[in-house]
Amino acid sequence: MSGPADPRPPAGVLRVFRGDHPAGPLHEEPEAASPDPAGHGAELFLSVDAEGRVTAYNGHVDLGTGIGTALAQIVAEELDVALDAVTVVLGHTGRTPNQGATIASETVQVTAVPLRRAAAQARRHLVALAAAALDVPVADLAVEDGIVRRPGANAAVGYGELLRGRRIHLRLDEAGAVKPAAEHRLVGRSVPRRDIPAKATGAFTYVHDVRVEGMLHGRVVRPPYAGLDHGPFVGRSLVAVDESSVADVPGVVAVVVLGDFVGVVAEREEQAGRAAEALVTRWRGFAPGRDPGAGEAALRDNPSTPRVLLDRGDVAGGLAGAATPMRRTYTWPYQLHGSIGPSCSVADVRPDGITLWSGTQNPLMLRADIARLTGVAEDRIAIVRHEAAGCYGRNCADDVGADAVLLSRAVGRPVRVQLTREQEHLWEPKGTAQVMDVAGGLTAEGAPAAYDFETRYPSNGAPTLALLLTGIAEPVPQVFEMGDRTAVPPYDYADARVTVHDMPPIARASWIRGVSALPNSFAHESFIDELATAAGVDPVEYRLRHLSDARAVDLVRAVADRAGWQPHAVPQTLPADGDWLRGRGFAYAVYVHGKFPGTAAAWSAWVADVAVNRASGEVAVERIVVGQDSGLMINPAGVEHQIHGNVVQSTSRVLHEAVPFEGGLPAARDWGAYPILTFAQLPAIDVVTMDRPEEPPLGVGESASVPSAAAIANAIFDATGVRFREPPFTAERVRAALNPLPGPEAAGPAAAKPTARRRWRPRLAPALLAAGAATLGALAAACLPLRSAIPAVPRPDPAAFSAATIARGRLAAALGGCAVCHAGPSGTGLAGGRAIHTPFGTVFASNISPDAEAGIGAWSYPAFARAMQEGVSRDGRNLYPAHPYTSFARAPEAEIQALYAFLMAEPAEAQVPPPTRLAAPFGERRMMRLWNWLFLRGGPPAPDPARSAAWNRGRDLVEGLGHCSACHSPRNALGAERGGALHLAGGTVDGWDAPALAGLAAAPVPWTADALHAYLSTGHDPAHGVAAGPMAAVVRSLAALPDADRRAMAEYLAALQAPAAVAPESRAAALLAAAAAEPQGAPALGRQIYRGACAACHEADGPTLFGVRPALALNTSLHAARPDNLVRVVLEGLMDPAHPDLGTMPAFGRVYSDGQVAALLRYLRTRFAPDAPAWTDLDAAVARVRAALDAPRDPAIVEFPSD
């Protein structure tokens, strides 16, 4: 296990080193304090202490594969000790040997070899000591659980006892003998992984869980050139950081800026997160180089150097003589490693050195980077390695380590830095795109004519970001020669040439599971399948004819047998099932890793069974039979789990995964834009392992991924007769090839004309309005009586009001939602200040607390009543109708009195809100006199005896203090609510559409009194959706009312509805049924985002989760004429629900581009509101709504220089 070992020197020890030990290859020294195990410049592999405990050191780290367990098995086996006696220390600078980065799954295959020899050597030495101690010949001794004895004899001695008081150093014998496989009792047996219990209980300390005394929290703010690590702009683009933008974020300790490196440090994690989001940074414009989104073209265009790995026979002659020449190109996309936990690190930079807790793949390389970044000598830097989420290659683990060092150095305290999901997605060094060309063909006899293979691999090692951002490392592209893995085909092509075009990166890229071997094998194994088909030979048979490696032949046969492979020379021999075509494909590969010619890891072969929907293009991988020859399997269960993991992950990559790019930059920031396989799509997996205990163990971490793409592509070909040469094989791609449809825009319902926006929008042209303003103002001044000030009074003593009156006033305030607008900046109290955006300008809510100066403390009741009913302030000035006095004028007088009492009894607040300034003509408050003369109709309506008491009560509530019409009625050019048929016919408020409450309400399902009651009470009605925006606040406010009042409101509002033609229940059922199935040709990107980001909470048969599950088919916003409400909810989320039981929805404004939101909405509308006309100009609508929000998606402001 990777925990630090006990630092106390044991009273006696045996150690096995590699390298020069000053005291010679074997020596004993007196037991003395020599706590540094590698202190002699030698590398320590193994130690056995006087308690018989064994510690094994390995330079590699556990990347989530349980490698520590396999290493412990190897050591325990050779030493003949119990598994529990062995502790494994992995990748820890200063304590473990330098064995390079943990890549290519070579831990067991390569780096465990010296460890195994060290254990065998230690055993020999200990047995020799025992022979001397017991006076028995070595040959007569046996060891069990670390106890040495002659079988059957009583006398015995333990390893620990032998070492007491001794200090033995052995130099590693690299050629020493190890146990023959026949004697293995632990190796080759499945043993449970040792780390799982702690992981299952939360006791395991991942790097994310490291806490250090006095630790602060950091977040980084990355530059706008996301995911690019070379180019003249890298490290040189920051213009300014506006620290004042985080002045009001509590807990901020520092804003750290070094070149293009920007970070914030705060006391608490959420404070750091808030500060990083709020921090305003300004950047120069930049021109990304080649567009990685251009795929094949980008790679062909990238400068490269050819490197010929193989040139045998006469390739040119073979190609020229081919009876059937074939040239094929295969293309691989950029993909993410996609660790499920974004990278995290804790750094403590002290004057005497640096400690860095890290999930790195390569502690020593990281240490060198930190030394370069800080100028601190390597021997004063300790990297403490902890497990992180599985990484499958190089992710942001090193980046975040360096980030943490910079932030800790700046504040002089330990700092933990957690990258966000968005940052990990955007910046991780992607698995690179790759292009493979094959020229070949068939001879007249159907044999391969020649094989000319070229592969293009743009990547580098993805230098640690902080080095680039601070300008310490030059942002120049470097070329990594890693395109050569399994570049040589496994078949006996007589005339063959293999060329790798080494090239610099385009997008930031680095190795990922199956580095270049997976794409290369995709080409090899697709091409040989094409050859077989062209030759009219069964694909497995054709492979076997040209495969001479005996272990490969055995494996291919075993896997084909297990799968029940039926030889066939043409595709589509399996019966279809309706629209589902069935197919089966084969592929074989051996993963060759390391620098060319490299080392072969385990052999692997796949048979994939797929079903392809010929209408939708959907590909379901139903079963994989996967075989592997891993040589000796240390822990067979562990090998099987690794195979499963490889099958699932590579199936995900092949079916679903490609990094999208927009404008040359990666555009996936979450699992919606970059989906991975879920339980729903899991194939059945049948594993065949070859039994080869006498063969050396081979790496098993990646091999089973390598045949994946070709096996699935070959299966799709078998099902459809169409070759797919570019993963991922998404429904969109497959459908487009099988069954071309018109584009999604054209395929949707007939495009509707944009609905005229009439609400709140002046019908009079603004110019006309402005021109008339002076006249109107003069008219108002001339014709209408001036209102006088009402004298100030001392604040009334709250004791003057009865408790019952105050309580009634509290309800009136709740009904009126006073606090919705008049709460103070903290969201409580009545100090006002909220900005209310109207087409005429911004009105700031006033302070209505009983403060004599700032609030209404000096207002007598008549002054208050006049403000409520006539819209005139105590000082005689007119109020704007953002204050809905036209509604309040219709409230019963007793309610206004009670409200006055309640407000006067609230705490006084001295805060003065900002002054309201409106555009002409409303800047002139006198104008409002004319306005009132035109539009103010006072007095509560007379009771209607023909209606129920509840209806009458409901009308008073809705039309009076409830002022529903203030939002839900359209307004005329002068901002007045329109009456008559347009009363409650829908309005807008603060950019939200407030749906119609009367007549033909816009909701897809007619409202009933019960539905309205549920909605007003809980903020949710299953047949309509969840209250969002200002309505959420209204529902919260109404919660204070007696239920009978909400019932009464519901009854009155229900009576306003036009009689429903269809029963609500059957209408709802019809809508739900219509939306249950995927519509043909539904927009693909939108569907993908929906599935990754929305479906878990909104799909009818999604998992059980806290909160309600709003059915989108019934959602009012989805059926609305304008998309604005829906856009707004997607961008802002609903983190502040009307009722806590509803649950929340996160904001996606920072996650999705305008185009992605538009794609999502296009899908939602097509699927969930199929009868509604498509929304047009969605991209523009998203941009418009986003621009109106307070928080734009990306705080970075990018300036493009004018020159």
Binding site: K199, A200, T201, I340, A389, G645, V648
Partner: protein, 176 residues
């Protein structure tokens, strides 16, 4: 967003975590995940996406799986929260944890928290769920290591263990 809110900026928020009442003076907007990890030192729930998409941060809220990354304290207020650490009565493992160990259902294990808690809640609702139901309930939990096969095996094993022990966990998230 309107100023009245379930999430006022100040005031003490009380909730029950693993059977113990806890009170914190924190803004109601703070995510439950931050409180659990940074104030209570409960590391079972993991940060994975912050968007409710991956399930790494799952906790049980009144016995129902919830995404702690998008659950503000204002919503968690007054509720009963169970984390991975609170499943077992110390010492030992909850039957579902035991089943995950038995099935060796982890590669890196980062997703394990969400898988286990979702299973606990599922089995409390339905002690013998079918394959389709298991897959549906886990469909909001992502695993990048591809441990799906072992996880499904663990869920079936957990149903067995809980069925045989009679500890059907009728109330998910309550300490046995």
């Amino acid at each position: 967003m309107a100023p009245t809110s379930t999430a006022p900026e100040s005031g003490t928020i009380t909730l029950e975590v693993n059977g113990t009442a806890v009170a914190f003076a924190r803004p109601g907007t703070v995510a439950l995940l931050d409180l659990l990890r940074n104030d209570l030192g409960l590391n079972g729930a993991k940060y994975g996406c912050g968007l409710g998409q991956c399930g790494a941060c799952t906790v049980l809220v009144d016995g129902v799986p919830a995404r702690a990354c998008i659950l503000p304290l204002a919503v968690a207020r007054g509720r009963r929260v169970t984390t991975l650490e609170g499943l077992a009565s110390a010492p030992g493992l909850h039957p579902v944890q035991q089943a995950f160990v038995d099935a060796q259902a982890a590669q890196c294990g980062y997703c394990l928290n969400g898988m286990i808690l979702t299973t606990v809640a599922l089995l409390a609702r339905n002690p013998s769920p079918g394959e389709a139901e298991i897959r549906r309930e886990l469909s909001g939990n992502l695993c990048r290591c591809g441990t799906h096969v072992e996880i499904l095996k663990a869920v079936r094993r957990a149903a067995e263990l809980m069925g045989s022990s009679g500890d059907a966990g009728a109330d998910a998230g309550r300490r046995p």
